[in-house]
Amino acid sequence: MAIPQKTKKMLTQTGDNSAFSFRTKTKSFFASQKGLNADIIREISRQKNEPQWMLDFRLHAYEVFLGKEMPRWGADLSGIDFDNIRYYVRPQDKSKRSWDDVPKEIKDTFDKLGIPEAEKKFLAGTGAQFESEMIYHSLAENLAKQGVIFESTDDAIKNHPELFKKYFGTVIPPGDNKFAALNSAVWSGGSFIYVPKGVHVELPLQAYFRINTENMGQFERTLIIADEGSSVHYVEGCTAPTYSSDSLHSAVVEIIVKKGARVQYTTIQNWSGNVYNLVTKRAMAYENAEMFWLDCNLGSKVTMKYPSIILRERGAKGEIQSLAFASKGQHQDAGGKVMHLAPDTSSTIISKSISKNGGRSTYRGLVKVIKGAKNVKTRVVCDALMLDKDSRSDTYPTMDIKEEDVAIAHEATVASIGEDELFYLMSRGLSEEQAATLIVNGFANPIIRKLPMEYAVELNRLLALEMTGSVG
C-alpha cells in the first residue's frame, strides 16, 4: 500500500479501531454530579477561583440555555440527555509545563497517543486537555520571548485579565445558539493564544483533546487573537474511548484576525462513535486579514459544525475547507458560513464528503453579502462521494446576496465509485479494497494535502482504516 505503515500515532483512532479505544483508570481531583443547575455552575466557578464577572457571565448564559429550544433542523439530537452528563471533571489541580509533572496515568494516555513525541519533532507548542481541564501547555522559548501567549483559557483569565475580557465572548455571544449558551455556562479548558503585532509563528501550535470518562461533557473554550500583521497555525485533534452510552463535546472557538494577519485553524476530529460533537466556531477578520478553517471530521456519532468567518473590513479573505467521512451510525452535518460585510472581500468554501455503510453526510452552508459590499468574490464547491446505496448525502447551500456587484461561483457534484474505475485499477493487480481506498484518497487529496505533512500521513492512514473491509 502507498499508505506508510510506520506513522506516528499522534492524533487519533477511528471509531471502531481498538488500538486507541483504550480507557485510562484515573482518579479525578473533582467530578461534578450528573446533571446541571446553577449550583453546579457556581461550584465550577468557585473551583476555578474566577472573577465575579465570569460567574455572572456563566449564570446569564445558563438562563439563555434554558430559554432556547433544541435546534429542530439538522441532525437528530434526541439522544442527548442533559441530566445524564457530568459537566465538570477536573483531573488534576492545575496545568503543568512539563510532562514529568503530569500524573502518571494521564501522561500514559498521551504517551500512547504519541503527543510528547510529536511535540519534540515538529511543533512550536503543545496543549493537552484531559476531561475538563488543560493538563499541560508548553511553548517554544523563542516565541514566549517575542510575547506570544499560549496557555489554557483558565490560566489566561488570571494571567491576562484585560486582554481576556476585551475579546472573550465578543465573536460568539451566549445567545448565538443553545450549545454556545451551554458552553458559555459550563466552559472549562481550551487554549488561549495571543500573537503580537508582526510575529509569525512558523511551526503549528497543537492542542489535543481527550475524553476519558463515560457520560462526560467536554466544553472547552478557545480564544485566538492574531494582532496586526502576525500569523499562526493552530491544530487540534480529538479522541475518546468507546462507551456504550453517549458523551457530549460542545466547544466554542472565537478567533480575532486583525489587520493584515493570517490564522489557520486545522481540526482532525476523530471522536469515538458515541460522542455528540456540537461545536460553534467563528472568526472575525479585519482589513486585509486572512482566515482559513481546515476541518476534517472522521469520528463522532453526530457532528454539527459550520466554521464561520465574518469578513468585517475591506480586503479580508476567508477560506473554509472541510472533509467529512460518515460511516455506519454516523451523521456528519458540516459546512461553513461566510458573511461579507465589506467591499473587496473574498471567500472560498470547499466541502468534500464521503459516505459509506449507511452513513449520512450533509453539507450546510451560507454565504451572505450585504448591500454595499461591492466587488465581492465567492466560490462554493461541494462534492459528495457515496460508496454504496445505503448511504446518504444532502446539500443545503444558501446564498443571501444583497449586492449586485459580486462574482459568485457554485459547483456541486455527487459521485459514486464507478465499476469501470474499479475494473481499471483492479486490472493492474490491486484488490477491490485497495482500488476503492485509492479512489477515496484521491477524492479527499485536495483537502488532505493542505495539512502539514505529519497530519496528512496520519489522515491517509485513518482513511485506509475506515476503508478496511468496506467492500467485497
Binding site: M1, D420, F423, M426, S427, R428, G429, L438, F443, N445
Partner: protein, 253 residues
C-alpha cells in the same frame, strides 16, 4: 512463468445480448497476435472478458493460462497471474498520482507472486519510471499527475504502454493502442512496444482496425473477427486481402 494462453470456444454476453459467439485462440510467450475486424465485431469485448470485466457474463468456453483456469478469477487475480489489459479508453482517477499508483500496483503484484525481489522504494522506483517514460517520450511530470487526468488521447495510450512496461506481464492485451495517435507517436509507441515485448518475452494480443499498424509491428498471426467469432487467420497475405476487398470478403465464406 506461464508459457501459453489457450482460449477455447469463449462465449460472453452483456445482459441478454450475446457478443462473443465462440472465440478460440492460442498464443505462446514471445508471440504477437493482431486481431482485426470491423467496429462491433467483438474485438474489444474479447480483451475485456479475458481480463475479467464484471460487466460481461461468460456463458461458455474456457481460458487457460498453462493449466490454470482464468475465468474463475477476479481481475486482480488475473493481473497477479501475469495478464494485462491496455485500455482503449483508460479511466481518469482524480487525485491519485500515476507514479504512486504504479508503484503500489508493482509491489502488490510482486508480493502476490511471492517474488524474491523486495518491495521497491519510492526513489529507485521513480528512477526506473523516469527511464521508461523517456523511452516513450512522456514528460516526467506526468508521474505526479492524476491518472489520465487531462491527458490527450495519445498521452493516454502512451501511459498504457508505460504501465505495461513497468508491470511486466506475461501476456498483454492492447485494445486499439494505435487509435488517436499521430504517425510520430505511433512510431514511438510501436517501437517501445516491440522492445518491451522482445526483452520480456511477452505474449501480445493487439486489437486494431487500422492495417497501418502492420508497418511498425510484425505479428506472428493475424486474426479477423466478425460477429463475435474469429473468421480467418493467417499471415500478412490476409492484410493484403483486407486492403483489396475489405473486411466483408471474409464474411462471404
Amino acid at each position: 512463468m506461464a508459457k501459453t494462453l489457450k482460449i477455447e470456444n469463449l462465449q460472453a454476453a452483456i445482459g441478454k445480448t450475446k457478443i462473443l459467439n465462440g472465440v478460440s485462440l492460442d498464443i505462446s510467450r514471445g508471440e504477437i497476435h493482431i486481431i482485426m475486424g470491423q467496429n462491433g465485431s467483438g474485438k474489444s469485448t474479447l480483451l475485456s472478458v479475458l481480463m475479467g470485466n464484471p460487466k460481461y457474463t461468460v456463458t461458455g468456453g474456457s481460458v487457460m493460462l498453462d493449466k490454470k483456469d482464468m475465468l474463475g478469477l477476479s481481475p486482480t487475480q488475473r493481473a497477479q497471474n501475469g495478464l494485462f489489459l491496455g485500455f482503449q479508453h483508460p479511466q481518469v482517477v482524480t487525485g491519485v498520482p500515476l507514479g504512486n499508483f504504479l508503484r503500489l500496483a508493482k509491489n502488490t503484484i510482486s508480493s502476490a507472486q511471492k517474488s524474491k525481489t523486495p518491495a521497491i522504494g519510492p526513489a529507485p522506483f521513480a528512477a526506473n519510471l523516469r527511464a521508461e517514460m523517456e523511452k516513450l517520450k512522456i514528460d516526467p511530470t506526468f508521474m505526479s499527475r492524476s491518472i489520465n487526468e487531462g491527458f490527450s488521447g495519445g498521452e493516454k495510450k502512451k501511459s498504457e504502454v508505460l504501465q505495461m512496461a513497468v508491470l511486466e506481464p506475461v501476456f498483454a492485451f492492447l485494445d486499439e493502442i494505435d487509435s488517436g495517435l499521430d504517425i510520430d507517436a505511433l512510431k514511438i509507441v510501436a517501437k517501445q512496444l516491440s522492445a518491451v515485448q522482445k526483452k520480456q518475452g511477452m505474449g501480445l494480443i493487439i486489437v486494431s482496425h487500422n492495417p497501418r499498424i502492420l508497418d511498425f509491428i510484425k505479428p506472428d498471426t493475424i486474426h479477423i473477427m466478425s460477429k463475435g467469432k474469429i473468421v480467418a487467420r493467417g499471415g500478412k497475405e490476409i492484410v493484403k486481402k483486407i486492403e483489396k476487398d475489405g473486411f466483408d470478403s471474409f464474411l462471404k465464406k
